[in-house]
């Protein structure tokens, strides 16, 4: 792992004179933004494989009707923990990892504003993940209510729920600290001349994401605390018999849950906005409108939570309000898509792996956007709510959206992180296998949903058998092709293919123009001047 970051004793002229720990203590006590970024990225990769194995276990069970491998209770635990691990363990930490590596370098800062807190943010995530995984091994098994943790179902289970709640609390604390750090860094440590409207879009999207996190993580913490007191301290927040209301949990959860979706996707917009101009060799078409569109999406995300609840029986006015607000999100999202395409238009494009993943993102995320529009329409949602159509929808936005952008970013910045070029052919192979596997796995799920197959079931009626079989085959292709990524990253770290300081013709942010590859342990101790 230590090879991921250039060791301190490398011969770079701007290295610090003072020593820092090596070996295990280096990683335990590190306050360096690049070390912490690396920790986050490897942690996220590990969680990605863990969550992915759970998905494959489910797809194996769903390969054909009947129960072949799993019992239904364990299957429900897998759906739940797969969701929690992927959202809180893989996607979010991966974005924080990129933020740690890139934000200081892109704004010309020496490090994050609160390095010690940065260390603490990361090391909190680890015990939370351990709690989540360990909950499989306690009496009653892991949480089996879906990642939304709805009461009263969640009240029925045993100690694993308390572990899950504690894990969510810890992750929330970590996210809030990370966000404070990111906001403070961006607002206070920019190099002279780096005005807000000159910041790279990745920095902008993370600034807005960090505000979203600070706004909603405490809300989630409140919701799970109420679950905890309902379970153990005799309160009745969500228990009708005591004057509470289970629907209230849904409202609170989704007030967190919808912005959470944008927390996972906004940094992806930032990465794609960096990569497309670099490989089209042409500036981003509408920088300012991208910033405004990001901010509009973030604001709208606070008033659309009810679209997850069209089947609870809200009054017509409630359903209509949430339908209109949700449809409105298509406008700024459309602005982004149009902007990326206008950036490509009349460019001089090449298609290295980062660009391929970005174009894959563009096409498939848009399909996820369209199915989101279909689901926004209340009457259609009624027939598709909690079916596989929804499963297909959110995997198009989270896998071919957030995850593809993460891969694009990883291939794009690996040369800067490691100082070496990754293997381009393997990268392209990874891309094509991922795209093909992903679409075979998830496109048929639209059809399953349209035909009425509910989600979170271990077994299904016979008319769903064919598409489920294809979906499972696709899932295994997709899942196993991710081992190529793992290999590619390790191979890149160990290889001797030295990368140029700026291996991409069109990349023009500070980390490419002002820093060598690999980026030294300490960078921008003297702030650069941005013209």
């Amino acid at each position: 792992m230590s090879a991921a970051v250039p060791a301190h004793d490398s011969a770079h002229h701007d290295d610090h004179a003072h020593a820092h720990p090596t070996g295990l203590t280096r990683w335990l006590f590190t306050t360096n933004h690049k070390d912490i970024g690396t920790l986050y990225l490897f942690f996220a990769l590990a969680m990605f494989f863990l969550g992915g194995s759970m998905a494959l276990a489910m797809r194996a069970e769903l390969f054909q009707p009947g129960l072949q491998y799993l019992n239904p209770e364990f299957f429900n635990s897998l759906t739940t923990v797969h969701g929690l691990v992927m959202v809180f363990g893989a996607i979010m930490p991966a974005w924080v990892g990129f933020a740690n590596w890139l934000i200081p370098m892109q704004i010309g800062a020496a490090d994050m504003a609160f390095p010690r807190m940065n260390n603490w943010s990361f090391w909190l995530v680890v015990p939370a993940a351990i709690l989540l995984v360990a909950s499989f091994f306690v009496p009653g098994g892991a949480a089996a209510s879906g990642w939304t943790l709805y009461p009263p179902l969640i009240i029925q289970q045993g100690i694993s729920i308390d572990m899950t709640i504690l894990a969510v609390h810890i992750l929330g604390a970590s996210s809030i600290m990370g966000s404070i750090n990111i906001i403070t860094t961006i607002l206070n440590l920019r190099a002279p001349g780096m005005t807000l409207m000159k910041m790279p879009l990745f920095v902008w999207t993370w600034l807005i994401t960090a505000y979203l996190l600070i706004a909603v993580m405490p809300v989630l913490a409140g919701a799970v605390t109420m679950l905890l007191t309902d379970r153990h301290f005799g309160t009745s927040f969500f228990n009708a018999a005591g004057g509470g209301d289970p629907t209230m949990f849904m409202h609170i959860f989704w007030f967190f849950g919808h912005p959470e979706v944008y927390i996972m996707i906004l940094p992806a917009f930032g990465v794609v906005s960096a990569i497309i101009p670099a490989f089209a060799r042409k500036p981003l078409f509408g920088y300012a409108s991208m910033v405004y569109a990001t901010a509009s999406i973030a604001l709208l995300s606070f008033i659309v939570w009810g679209h997850h609840m069209f089947t609870v029986g809200m009054p017509a006015a409630g359903n209509l309000f949430f339908m209109y607000a949700t449809m409105l999100i298509a406008v700024p999202t459309g602005v982004k898509i149009f902007n990326w395409i206008a950036t490509m238009w009349q460019g001089s494009m090449t298609f290295e792996t980062p660009m391929l993943f970005s174009i894959g993102f563009l096409c498939l995320f848009t399909i996820g956007g369209f199915s989101g529009l279909v689901l926004a329409v209340v009457p259609v949602d009624i027939t598709l709510h909690n079916t596989y159509y929804v499963v297909a929808h959110f995997h198009y936005v989270l896998v071919s959206g957030a995850l593809f952008a993460l891969f694009a970013g990883a291939y794009f910045w690996l040369p800067k992180f490691t100082g070496n070029m990754y293997n381009e052919s393997l990268g392209k192979l990874h891309f094509w296998l991922s795209v093909i596997g992903f679409n075979i796995a998830f496109f048929p799920q639209h059809f399953l949903g349209l035909a009425g197959m509910p989600r979170r079931i271990p077994d299904y009626a016979l008319q769903f058998a064919e598409w489920n079989m294809w979906s499972s085959i696709g899932a295994f292709v997709f899942g196993f092709s991710q081992l190529l990524f793992l290999y590619n990253v390790i191979e890149c770290i160990r290889s001797n293919r030295k990368a140029a300081d700026n291996p991409w013709e069109g990349a023009d942010t500070l980390e490419w123009t002002h820093l060598p590859s690999p980026a030294p342990y300490h960078t921008f101790e003297t702030a650069p001047v941005v013209k």
Binding site: Q156, P283, G313, M323, V335, G347, M349, P379, L450, P454
Partner: protein
């Protein structure tokens, strides 16, 4: 109509492509569409869905046509030189306003349907639907009929762990013992609620998907266009057997419906004696609480009640699925004082999946408790009478 033709063409094209690309067999069910609508609302949903789909397909073709044109034309490998234009207010205003107008076009018809869906007034018939883990109870408020519907697919077709399962029937997992029966062409209002956790009453062809929320009653309505059988499933995860609580609605001509009501009513009083509980299960109103039953009668009836209500978790063998679902065979509670077991069955156990079974009749509870106390290795020799259950309820 042109649009309809297009739709059909698209569907056939998609089907053909799927069949060709995947070497599908002739009988494979590669459905790619919403199920045929069977109520006016479902029809509107169907039409809305396709209208939006076509708009999306149109946008996709235009936007990604432009992108792929660019990908092929503006490649460095094809000798393209990068232009340097950026920012153009006119274009940016246009691509903000046009999507907005398209959205208004979508929202207008959707709004009309939402208002219609929400108008459950002046129904011809009202049925209270109570969900519980894991079955549905239907209470016909005007007609005085009440019964429970649960999965009728045999476990032997479902469970294949390490062995070959029984051949699966055509309606595998979509069949119940007592389907809900409604008159076709009449407005049926549902009052949906739940006894334990959140469930979802979902029948796609009738255009209904309504959560049942414990402690609250939500209404929804449908009118089945014509007689037929419409199947659905619970849509909200509700625990272990979530995948195994289907819904079957049989719409009959109004005369046939009236005959069905009569027949159901005639059946109901017969279900009072424990021996008959199972025969007419699950509708079982309170039996004569003062009558004494023999241990054998109770055990025989109890075995059936156990199979219907308890075996999903505690298993027919009484071994349960520990640790979530404890064994009853050799259990301390079952072999301990009967008052404690009765209290547990009546009230459920907070913090576990053990729900309250107070909704079962005194005779059903008496027989099932008697059965567990004398089945497998349990040999208490005790018989619990319905009167004891009645007393324990207070």
């Amino acid at each position: 109509m042109g649009l309809d033709m297009l739709r059909k063409t698209f569907r056939y094209a998609a089907l053909a492509a799927a069949a060709l690309a995947m070497g599908a067999t002739a009988n494979a069910a590669y459905d790619v569409d919403i199920l045929p609508p069977a109520s006016p609302i479902a029809q509107q949903i169907y039409d809305l869905h396709w209208a939006i789909m076509w708009i999306c397909v149109g946008i996709f073709v235009v936007v990604f046509g432009a992108m792929f044109y660019s990908v092929f034309k503006h490649r460095k490998a094809a000798g393209a030189k990068a232009a340097h234009f950026h920012e153009n207010t006119t274009i940016e205003v246009i691509w903000t306003v046009i999507p907005f107008l398209i959205l208004i076009g979508m929202a207008y018809p959707a709004t009309k349907t939402v208002l219609e869906m929400k108008d459950a007034s002046s129904p011809d018939l009202t049925v209270k639907v109570t969900a519980f883990q894991w079955a549905w109870e239907y209470d016909y408020l005007q007609d005085g009929v009440k019964f429970t519907a649960r999965l009728s697919t045999p476990r032997a077709q479902i469970e294949e762990w390490g062995k070959k399962g029984q051949a699966k029937g055509a309606d595998y997992l979509l069949e119940v013992d007592n389907p809900m029966v409604v008159p076709a062409g009449k407005k049926v209002r549902l009052l949906v609620t739940s006894n334990d956790v959140i469930h979802g009453w979902y029948v796609p062809q009738l255009g209904i998907n309504q959560y049942g929320i414990p402690g609250f009653v939500k209404d929804a309505w449908f009118t089945a266009d014509k007689p037929g059988v419409y199947r659905g499933q619970c849509s909200q995860i509700c625990g272990k057997e979530h995948g195994y609580m289907p819904i079957v609605v049989v719409a009959k001509a109004p005369e046939e419906y009236a005959a069905w009501v009569k027949e159901q009513k005639a059946k109901m009083p017969a279900a009072q004696a424990p021996q008959q509980v199972a025969a007419a299960a699950p509708a079982a109103p309170a039996a004569d609480p003062n009558k004494k039953w023999t241990a054998e009668e109770l055990k025989a009836a109890g075995e059936k009640v156990f199979a219907a209500n308890c075996a999903a978790c505690h298993q027919a063998t009484g071994k349960g699925m520990p640790p979530a679902f404890p064994a009853l065979d050799g259990s301390k509670v079952v072999n301990g004082p009967k008052a404690a077991q009765l209290a547990l069955v009546l009230n459920g156990k907070q913090g576990t999946a053990m729900a309250s079974f107070a909704r079962l009749s005194d005779s059903e509870l008496a027989s099932v408790v008697t059965y567990t106390r004398n089945a497998w290795g349990n040999k208490t020799g005790e018989a619990i009478q319905p009167a004891e259950v009645k007393a324990a309820r207070k």
